[in-house]
């Protein structure tokens, strides 16, 4: 009964996301563009939270994976003619490969890891700026191929982009959830407190952490690649901007970084609130309101928004059951 209910809710949510949102906002490209941007941040936020929750690592360098993914996909499709959807996956793969360069940082913990990965992100930005023949240098890449029309569906527009980024997020969330529920997930959770105790029972903790770093990098890279083909333009300062690290972290913490869907909810709420409510009221300094909102959430509910909503739903369910 509980399972059937869960499946029904999931089905309704998918229907609303894939059909309801395009029907409601498909005619207003501005709003649809904002939703796509929010989901792009959500994708990075989800990947960031995955690394924190499962790998036990706080990263300040996800912009590196975002940038590497976007450049890999853009360059492959522009210079080698790789089909855009294949390039999207190769962008993720490129970011995962880039994460291999960060493996030495896995020996570090806490703030040391965070700072090391931030430095790595900067190195990749410099590489993108200096490798002019491939990346176009500081001038960037223009006219990156947009998503094609497939099976009569036009993916190059705002609504098509929305469907793609939504699918990327759903697949990423399912992958995250599957890892979390597996023996790998248990071992990864346990490693945070007692790494040595897990190693002596056969857990290759460094390999597991490296795998989580690669998975997180892959998801971020795919999201970065999506963004490159969606906006059709790239430059190093934009692709490797710290915005791609800071906003996802804020979104994940606001929504509830310990849950799978919290970062997605957080990204949608803070980005859409900021753009649709705070920005029209305060064109300059609207981010301050966002900052205050984030501080309030951390103080009032350190677990984030989603756990609060779920608790409320459960307690209301309990009251109805008693009534």
């Amino acid at each position: 009964m509980k399972h059937a209910m869960k499946h029904a809710i999931l089905g309704a949510a998918l229907l609303a996301a894939y059909v309801g949102v395009p029907l409601l906002f498909g005619g207003t490209p501005y709003v649809m563009g904002l939703i796509v941007a929010a989901l792009t941040i959500a994708g990075v936020a989800l990947a960031w939270a995955l690394l924190g929750n499962l790998g036990g690592m706080v990263s300040f360098g996800h912009a590196a994976f975002f940038g590497v993914g976007s450049y890999t996909s853009a360059v492959l499709s522009m210079k080698l003619g790789v089909p855009v959807f294949a390039a999207l996956l190769l962008g993720g793969l490129g970011a995962a490969v880039a994460s291999v360069a960060m493996l030495p940082a896995l020996r570090l913990r806490g703030p040391y890891f965070a700072l090391a990965i931030l430095a790595y992100a900067h190195i990749f930005q410099i590489l993108a700026t200096e490798m002019t023949p491939i990346t176009g240098g500081a001038g960037g890449l223009l006219s990156i191929p947009r998503f094609p029309t497939l099976f009569g569906l036009e993916f190059g527009g705002k609504t098509g982009g929305y469907v793609i980024i939504l699918t990327i997020i759903l697949l990423s969330a399912f992958a995250y959830d599957a890892v979390r529920r597996s023996a790998w997930g248990l071992a990864l959770k346990a490693m945070h407190d007692t790494e040595i105790a897990t190693r002596v029972i056969g857990v290759p903790s460094t390999h597991l952490k490296a795998a989580m770093l690669a998975l997180s990098a892959f998801i971020t890279g795919v999201v970065g690649a999506f963004n490159a083909h969606f906006i059709s333009f790239l430059e190093p300062d934009y692709a490797f901007s710290s915005t791609w690290t800071v906003l996802p972290i804020a979104a994940a913490i606001f929504g509830g970084y310990r849950t799978v869907w919290g970062p997605v909810v957080g990204a949608l709420v803070i980005y859409l609130l900021d753009q649709l409510v705070f920005k029209p009221i305060l064109p300059h300094g609207h981010q301050m309101v966002l900052g205050v909102l984030l501080c309030a959430m951390i103080l009032l509910s350190p677990g984030g928004l989603l756990p609060v909503l779920l608790r409320r739903r459960r307690s209301e369910g309990g009251r109805h059951a008693h009534a």
Partner: protein, 237 residues
């Protein structure tokens, strides 16, 4: 099965182990005793890979362990417990054993997990939070359980009986005996309680200041004047 030859460990200027040499045969039970700071836990750390020795030879079933990380040693069949229990955080008792089995033994055998829970009297606590909902005896049992779930052939038990009162200690000893017989394990047990060691182990090693000073049957070892002096400073107990 396990051979140590001239193993030494230096921590800065301190020699924690000085040329330790001994062998453990298949199915053998050995008691490892010695005063505090003698190097007993360091010896376990060396065998399980937590500490790299400064020199010497360390072989398990003909294979050198020296370059293998802890997790590979566990997969070869070396299980260990910690003196201060280290349950896996955010996991239930059963999940602790599942992680140990999936990674250490690389099998998925719920029946064996149930068997371990039964032998160690943990069945009722299987779904309890391993960090917050266990008594000391249960924590100690879980330490043994995690090591057992890796399907070891050599079990290193670090003071699993310490801190238990007499009745619990007796019951725990019986469980250890049952574990050894059921899985035909070799065991090395660190324990301060001499009657307990004498009851469980036909062979005893004594460490003092990082050096093995006696190796033999409990009766002979505990009458050895050097052993008595290492514990009491006197030559008679």
């Amino acid at each position: 099965m396990l051979t140590l030859e001239g193993v030494h460990v230096n921590f800065g200027g301190v020699q924690a182990l000085k040329s330790a040499s001994f062998a453990v045969a298949e199915g053998e039970s050995i008691g490892l005793v010695g005063p505090n700071g003698a190097g007993k836990t360091t010896l376990f750390n060396v065998i399980s890979g937590v500490v790299r020795p400064s020199g010497g030879r360390l072989d398990f079933r003909g294979q050198s362990l020296l370059k293998l990380p802890e997790w590979k040693r566990a997969r070869l069949g070396i299980g260990r417990s910690f003196q201060i229990p280290r349950p896996l955080g955010h996991c239930t008792v059963r999940e602790n054993l599942i992680v140990a089995q999936r990674f250490g033994a690389r099998t998925n055998d719920p029946q064996r997990i149930d068997e371990i829970l039964d032998i160690l009297n943990l069945r009722d606590k299987a779904d309890s939070d391993a960090t917050t909902e266990l008594a000391l005896t249960e924590h100690k049992a879980l330490e043994v359980g995690k090591a057992l779930a890796t399907n070891p052939s050599l079990l290193l038990l670090d003071e699993v009986l310490a801190g238990l009162e007499t009745t619990s200690k007796r019951a725990f000893m019986e469980r250890l005996g049952a574990v050894r017989d059921r899985y035909k394990l070799a065991m090395v047990i660190i324990e301060h309680d001499i009657p307990t060691i004498a009851a469980l182990c036909p062979r005893v090693l004594v460490l003092n200041f990082g050096q093995i000073i006696a190796d033999g049957a409990p009766d002979a070892v505990f009458r050895d004047p050097e052993v008595i002096r290492s514990y009491t400073g006197e030559t008679t107990l």
